[in-house]
């Protein structure tokens, strides 16, 4: 990809990110209830104190000026104080983020591990039993309400079979000094295999709940891409050269058939962010998604606002990465 094209595509991000910030800011403006009154709810504040605080927080200035301040602060990671925690919003979010990242990565990995082989086999054996089962499975995958499926998994594996924990991220007995803040990796790095299995057993069910709808989509994408590739001339040529079927499939065909899958996976990772809120709530997973849902109920708006902005920016960037990946992996496409 040419640097100029990359620059052009990067510049296109600016209006979108600006627009996203405007929407998040307007959402906050339109929120009923005065942030100062929410903050001082349990204290006996005189009207004078309320006025002073409002002035200190800049709430008495015109909207456009406040938007400028908001943008400047957002760019430097300053999202104000979390009403509820009485600490900077940025710190509270940063604390919860690793749990969400670990869950998202696990789900992404799981989805790819399910979807790639299944899609390839379905494509090779088109219209076979495997292909049909994969099709039916995909339909179920996109139709499953995640919050319900998570509860069903809990009932099955945690309550009845008692082989996996109901909720949480790791037992208290395990305490591993943080390196990456991803508990599975940290326990391996610290040489604690017992804690690794413990963290993994907590991770399995939420990751599976999150992964299935994504795997359903990716299987279809992988299948279509593989069918397309297998029809192309260079595969016919490889066959004519007398290369073994296995070598053709896994070395020549898959390499190209992975391009759409990887691209869609990058986009879908963005939608995992939304799914996280539901799945983290079901499994008591101490991540950002659950924090946002909890914050809504205590009207902790600065945190909700910062998190929504964070999610949106991540989502836009992931789509950008998907675009770039697609061109890098597939030189025939021009931006």
């Amino acid at each position: 990809m040419k640097p100029l094209a990359l620059l052009g595509r990067t510049l296109q991000l600016v209006p979108v990110l600006l627009g996203v910030s405007v929407i998040v800011f307007v959402m906050m403006l339109l929120t009923p209830g005065d942030p100062v009154e929410i903050m001082l709810a349990d204290q006996q504040a005189t009207p004078q104190q309320v006025e002073t605080m409002r002035h200190d927080m800049g709430l008495d200035r015109p909207a456009l000026e406040r938007f400028g301040v908001f943008l400047g602060n957002a760019a430097t990671g300053n999202f104000g104080l979390s009403f509820f925690h009485r600490r900077p919003v940025f710190d509270v979010i940063a604390e919860r983020l690793p749990a969400t990242i670990e869950l998202t990565l696990a789900a992404l990995l799981l989805a790819l591990v399910i979807a790639i082989p299944l899609g390839v086999i379905a494509a090779i054996k088109k219209n076979s039993l495997v292909d049909r089962l994969a099709a039916v499975g995909s339909l179920f995958g996109i139709s499953l309400p995640g919050f319900w499926f998570g509860i069903i998994l809990i009932i099955l594996f945690a309550v009845h079979l008692k082989i996996l924990p109901v909720a949480g991220r790791m037992d208290f007995a395990c305490e591993v000094a943080p390196v990456t803040y991803l508990l599975t990796i940290d326990s391996l790095l610290r040489g604690r295999p017992d804690c690794f299995t413990n963290a993994l057993s907590h991770l399995v069910l939420p990751a599976l709940t999150l992964a299935l709808p994504m795997a359903a989509v990716l299987t279809r994408v992988q299948r279509t891409a593989m069918i397309e590739v297998l029809r192309s001339d260079y595969i016919t040529f490889a066959e004519a050269k007398g290369l073994s079927r296995r070598r053709i499939l896994w070395r020549h065909a898959l390499k190209n058939a992975l391009v759409p899958t990887v691209t869609v996976a990058a986009i879908e990772t963005g939608s995992l962010l939304g799914g996280n809120m539901v799945v983290e709530t079901v499994f008591g997973w101490p991540g950002l998604g659950r924090l946002v849902v909890e914050s809504i109920f205590v009207r902790n708006y600065p945190l909700v606002q910062a998190a929504v902005l964070f999610y949106a920016v991540t989502y836009v960037l992931l789509n950008f990465v998907a675009d770039i990946l697609y061109t890098v992996l597939n030189p025939r496409v021009k931006l």
Binding site: P15, V16, L17, G19, V20, V22, I23, V24, M27, M28, L30, T31, P32, L139, F140, I142, S143, L144, P145, G146, F147, W148, F149, I151, I152, I154, I155, V159, V166, T224, I227, G270, S271, L273, G274, G275, M277, V278, T281, V282, V292, V293, I296, F297, Y301, V304, V308, Y311, A312, Y315, V316, N319
Partner: protein, 300 residues
């Protein structure tokens, strides 16, 4: 005298409208037709809920608290699917819950489709600054993950049926708008549009009377697929407690109610979730059939 069919009969026999052909193809696909049957069944349940539901969905009875389904010990056939934590009949609540899911699904998709058609037609046919403004707004809205956008709006507006519809429509219209815009861009170069322009037909006439009928079927197919999506979103919001509020029976909040009883009463969460799965799955299967029937180039 030999029976010679008159001209009109011949015409009627040979020419079937494209819609008719598509419908015939759709009904020939038994699987999709059956799925459509299930969707219609849910619609009937929703409409006639008061006549079908065996009990009052709001009537609590502490003696029936967490009563198991009929086939389990302690169950009764008059409360087939058992009772919830307040002793309310789960089957009756599921039947009433269909009203919420279907009302919101239909309302959101229909309103969003109308908005999407108008804005998509405007962007695709008028081009220029209209297109730029609409397309930028679409880009920005696409920058939000759907559920997060809806959750943020619900957090601001507060729960309730009207607010859910509003929050989902504000994001959902983007989908039909993009489809319509794309179709219009292709259609505006076609001869029939040029012909209409040549005879001096007004812009609004060309947009709504010439182009719209010709691009409607992909839009309708996309809208049916989206309905499945919207129903899951509403259920997710209600599950999180920021959607439909108690005591109104909605499938999402019923699943949430059951979370407290996963240890000893699995049926409270399980059955409402199965209802969501059955409806959404049927809509997905039916819409795939519709897509194949109306747009054969998609099927492989």
């Amino acid at each position: 005298m030999t029976a010679v069919p008159n001209d009109a009969a011949i015409v009627r026999e040979r020419i079937e409208s494209p819609t008719g052909q598509s419908l015939r193809r759709f009904l020939a696909d038994r699987f999709s037709a059956a799925a459509m049957g299930i969707v219609l069944l849910f619609v009937l349940l929703a409409v006639f809920a008061p006549f079908i539901a065996p009990h009052d969905p709001y009537e609590t009875d502490l003696f029936r608290r967490l009563q198991p389904p009929a086939w389990m010990e302690g169950g009764e056939w008059s409360f087939v699917l058992g009772c919830d934590g307040l002793g309310r009949d789960i089957l009756s609540r599921i039947i009433y819950g269909a009203r919420v899911s279907i009302t919101i699904g239909l309302a959101v998709v229909m309103i969003a489709t109308v908005i999407g058609i108008v804005l998509g037609l405007a962007a695709g046919y008028l081009r220029g600054w209209v297109d730029i403004v609409i397309s930028r707004i679409v880009d920005i809205l696409l920058g939000f993950p759907y559920l997060i956008f809806a959750i943020a709006l619900m957090a601001m507006m507060g729960p309730g049926l009207k607010n859910i519809i509003l929050a989902l429509v504000l994001k959902e219209w983007v989908v039909p708008a993009r489809v319509v815009r794309g179709e219009v861009l292709a259609a505006r170069e076609m001869e029939y549009v040029e012909a209409a322009r040549a005879v001096g037909a007004p812009r609004r006439y060309i947009m709504f009377r010439e182009i719209l009928p010709n691009i409607l079927s992909p839009v309708i197919v996309v809208s049916t697929i989206r309905m499945a999506h919207v129903i899951i979103l509403e259920a997710s919001l209600s599950f999180l407690g920021i959607g439909v509020q108690p005591p109104t029976a909605s499938w999402g909040s019923m699943v949430a109610d059951g979370r407290a009883f996963v240890l000893d009463a699995w049926w409270v969460s399980t059955f409402p979730g199965l209802a969501i799965l059955a409806l959404v799955l049927s809509i997905n299967v039916a819409s795939q059939g519709l897509r194949d029937a109306f747009d054969p180039k998609f099927s492989d």
